[in-house]
Amino acid sequence: MPTVGVKRDLLFKALGRSYTDEEFDELCFEFGLELDEITSEKEIISREQGDTKASGASDVILYKIDVPANRYDLLCLEGLVRGLQVFKNKCNRYQCDLPVDPMFAALHSPQTEAVRPHAVAAVLRNITFTQERYDSFIELQEKLHQNICRKRSLVAIGTHDLDTISGPFTYTAKRPGDISFKPLNQTKEYTATQLMSLYKTDSHLRHYLHIIEDKPLYPVIYDSNGVVLSMPPIINGDHSKISLKTKNVFIECTATDQTKAKTVLDMMVTMFSEYCAQPFTVEEAEVVYPDGKTCIYPELAYRKEKLSGKFINQKVGINESTEKIAHLLTRMCLLSQATGAGDEIEVEIPPTRSDIIHACDIMEDAAIAYGFNNITRTTPRTYTVANQFPLNKLTELLRQDLAAAGFTEALNFALVARTTLLPGLLKTIAANRKMPLPLKLFEISDVVLKDETKDVGARNSRRFCAVYYNKSPGFEVIHGLLDRTMQLLEVKPARGEGYHIQTADDSTFFPGRCADIFVRGKNVGRLGVLHPDVINRFELTMPCSALEMDIEPFL
């Protein structure tokens, strides 16, 4: 779950009112956010680097807010404010209008196909940055990179001062040695090859190098004068870097996943077009594909869905009028109205809500707006008869009786996909050498075995393992436990139809002190006195006898 840090006072100013921490926490809870932490830059630095480094840092109060992983529209202050304002009935939906003239073209060349095939772009015209807006703009790119962009592997965002470059732009791919430019915040030009080794030690950028490192051609974007805008997904050029003074921003997104590229571009422009001379207005860019096909971006697609009030009422378990439901949805940034045809509601899904992909997503928003905790709790009238899984039933019953037989249950990890339970029990003993003797332990758990007949090529096998650890080996104790277990399982001591044990060779056990357990003629396990080498390797000092067997044959 991504965490967004916003300055509290800035947030309250944008929301048009202030809240106590408790009130804001409550608001977040209802909306599905979590006020994770109330802190300040000073506190963060002091915690991470010590008090001395923190002196002089800002003590402006920061809210750290956890945002659901699919709500990319809430990853910055601007988006959070819009979402919460709508939720609190504060304002209605915002508009994104498209200008008439597509002014910029990004040309796509076929070389990118093998490395990073998709590119989309847009322009924010006449934007006014302040320090806070600028910081938020940079921060949103970072949040998107870490989340939907999957650490830049799926999508990488580049933002440029449009007044320093001139279109049309060319998106191509070249050999690393043939790309040369001055990267962001560097003083001289490097070839792409040099950059890759330069950034090997960069704490931030080194995580992205693997995305293109082993490719023969690296993606690169040039302007019409041959100026390098960026070498996605690694670094932008220094030439076109944006600053507080930047008025016109060219945004490009290159990607391996086109759907996500479009979503990311939509998110960048919907969030920050608010600060353009004509608010919520974004300028299009034309992308020309190698095959001559052209596309206009951003798509900023509004999608209309029709559903019935009955659908919402039935799925949520409420009984609201069609109009009320339309109002609930509108409060969640989904502009809705009753069409008048029965209980039909038309819902408009804005480009910011890429998470809405099905009617059930719309239903959830209605339920959130209604308030989960206002829904009447009901009991499904489903009549069912419970059944235990036979293997678990047998396990439960056996465990009780093994404890009654004086053995104590241990519980060890299965993570290694172990094939035997014995080592876990021996480790448990090793960790409890201080306990009074004898130690009598058992465990019933699954081990994992390869099995070609299963779709995944492996299966679990339920095992029963017991150990006896004392000054004498106590084979008779473990043997007695086997007899008791067989008695519980209604298997009589006899060859053929019953159970018997017979000498076996196993390096885990002391020579001549190991036997196989046969049940109805089938070998189900083994018992014996452990070999001193085994005892030593588990750092144990006393003789020990053990039993391990499969319990599935007794189902």
Binding site: G32, P68, R150, T259, Q314, K315, V316, G317, I318, D355, H358, A359, C360, D361, M363, E364, A367, I368, F372, N373, R377, T378, T379, P380, T382, Y383, T384, V385, A386, N387, Q388, F389, L391, L402, A403, A404, T408, E409, A410, L411, N412, F413, A414, L415, A417, G424, T428, A431, N432, M435, F442, D446, V448, K454, D455, V456, G457, A458, R459, N460
Partner: protein, 501 residues
């Protein structure tokens, strides 16, 4: 047991008086050590209400070691006096005696002796009086005989200053007759024996009372693991609620059933190496229900069933990758798919089993834990039904105050985090996750469109840690557990909310 003679003598003493006797006085008059009488008192007390003894403390004066010596041999000054012959004694000779130095100065200040410094052959000491009265010795003798009251406080303090007397606190018993006082002692039996039962002579015997303050002998027994006790409890709750147990005995799962079938996209971060354990052998699963697999592929990449889909290039290679399952919901998916292949009947399923996640390990997180999961599939289930079932489930655990927070989960919509009010912490704490399975998961399986499936999950370890007050998960599971904790853990009995847990 003290010597019967002493016991009987003591009882006779007590019988003779009306108000009682002091153990110290008895010891003095019998000429035995006080401890002997104290032992006798304890023995008599153990016999029942023969006597009653009240512990008292009193202060009295006692001679120090030096004081005792003086009482026997006289004060240092008197000894100096008596060792000086008529013709006098050289001072150097006198000083060689052990009492010489102190005795000399005291005798001088009492003017019993004099020094002739000009004497020929060094200073010489002579008597100045014929006889002396050794008062120090007499006073000490009085104290020694127990008559310290005859001395004035001032005199006693002076002797104390000379370290000849000391004041000591003495504990003694004031012994009076008990309700069943008798001067004869009956020997008490310790235990009932088969012979007594046979002969019936237990009727005449007196039995030594038990010490009910002592602990009993620990039974020789085995113990169930606390986490498994809580598992049994949760299993019981599900069974009481009519839920059928799912077969979750398959730790190794294909990405297909663990993720794809749940409409979890292939680029989802949970499918990263960082979050999931992938298997190197057997690395891949084979044999999927082919037509179902095609439907899953389509709903991911193109949508359908009313969904936009995720619009990406779905790859069979990703779905084939074997992993250690990250949730038991993989089994729920298999069960729901199986259910969809028959004529639909409503079901309630549950499971409690191990799941594996490549998590950052800390005091509350391990790379494997037990997931508790409940699933209900029926026609027309609502979000209200989900919250109602959760309310019933948690009420059985003794948790009644619940509230729900919107959340995100790729395979449920709506998704709700379940919070309960923790009376101890005075705040809402997350106790589980829940939701309604997405149509993109259910419809490709072939379940009817009007069937909804609600589900919830929580970890077994967390409630167990709370129940048994364990702060570090490593103290609960794995080989490093302290067996004493296992031995000592109480039964797990969750119950109606009136119980305080």
């Amino acid at each position: 047991m003290a010597d019967t003679g002493v016991l009987e003598t003591l009882l006779q003493r007590v019988e003779k008086v009306d108000d009682g006797v002091d153990s110290l006085a008895v010891a003095t008059s019998l000429g035995v050590d006080h401890q002997v009488i104290v032992g006798a008192v304890k023995s008599l007390q153990a016999l029942g209400d023969v006597i009653s003894a009240e512990l008292r403390s009193s202060k009295h004066w006692e001679l120090t070691e030096e004081g005792t010596e003086i009482a026997e041999q006289g004060s240092h000054e008197s000894r100096v006096f008596s060792c000086i012959p008529q013709e006098g004694l050289a001072q150097s000779e006198l000083m060689k005696l052990p009492f010489g130095k102190i005795g000399f100065s005291k005798a001088m200040s009492s003017k019993w002796i004099r020094v002739d410094k000009a004497h020929e052959g060094g200073p010489r000491i002579f008597r100045t009086v014929e006889s002396i009265d050794d008062q120090v010795r007499e006073k000490l003798l009085l104290v020694q005989k127990g008559h310290s009251t005859q001395l004035e406080e001032k005199e006693k303090n002076e002797l104390k200053k000379r370290k000849l007397l000391s004041e000591v606190t003495v504990k003694s018993y004031w012994i009076t007759k008990g309700n069943s006082f008798s001067t004869t002692i009956t020997k008490q039996e310790t235990e009932l024996t088969p012979e007594m039962i046979a002969s019936g002579n237990w009727k005449e015997k007196k039995f030594k009372p038990y010490n009910f303050e002592a602990m009993g002998v620990a039974p020789d027994c085995g113990h169930l693991h606390p986490l498994m006790k809580v598992r049994t409890q949760f299993r019981q709750i599900f069974l009481e609620m009519g839920f059928t147990e799912m077969p979750t005995n398959n730790f190794i799962e294909s990405s297909f059933w663990n993720f794809d079938s749940l409409f979890q996209p292939q680029q989802h971060p949970a499918r990263d190496q960082h979050d999931t354990f992938f298997l190197s052998d057997p690395a891949h699963a084979h044999e999927f229900p082919q037509d179902y697999l095609e439907r899953v592929k389509k709903v991911h990449s193109e949508g359908g069933y009313g969904s936009q889909g995720y619009k990406y290039d779905w790859k069979i290679e990703e779905a084939q990758k074997n992993i250690l399952r990250t949730h038991t919901t993989a089994v729920s998916a298999r069960m729901l798919y199986k259910l969809a292949q028959q004529k639909f009947t409503p079901v309630k399923y549950f499971s409690i089993d191990r799941v594996f996640r490549n998590e950052t390990l800390d005091a509350t997180h391990l790379a494997e834990f037990h997931q508790i999961e409940g699933v209900v599939a029926d026609y027309g289930l609502t979000l209200g039904d989900l919250m109602g079932v959760l309310h019933q489930f948690f009420t059985k655990l003794g948790i009644t105050k619940l509230r729900f927070k919107p959340a995100y989960n790729p395979y449920t919509e709506p998704s709700m985090e379940v919070f309960s009010y923790h009376e101890g912490l005075k705040k809402w704490v997350e106790v589980g996750n829940s939701g309604v399975f997405r149509p993109e998961m259910l419809l490709p399986m072939g379940l009817p469109e009007d069937v909804s499936v609600i589900a919830w999950g929580l970890s077994l370890e967390r409630p167990t840690m709370i129940k048994y007050g364990i702060n570090n998960i490593r103290e609960l599971v794995g080989h490093k557990v302290n067996l004493q904790m296992v031995y000592d853990s109480p039964i797990c009995r969750s119950g109606p909310p009136t119980q305080t847990e």
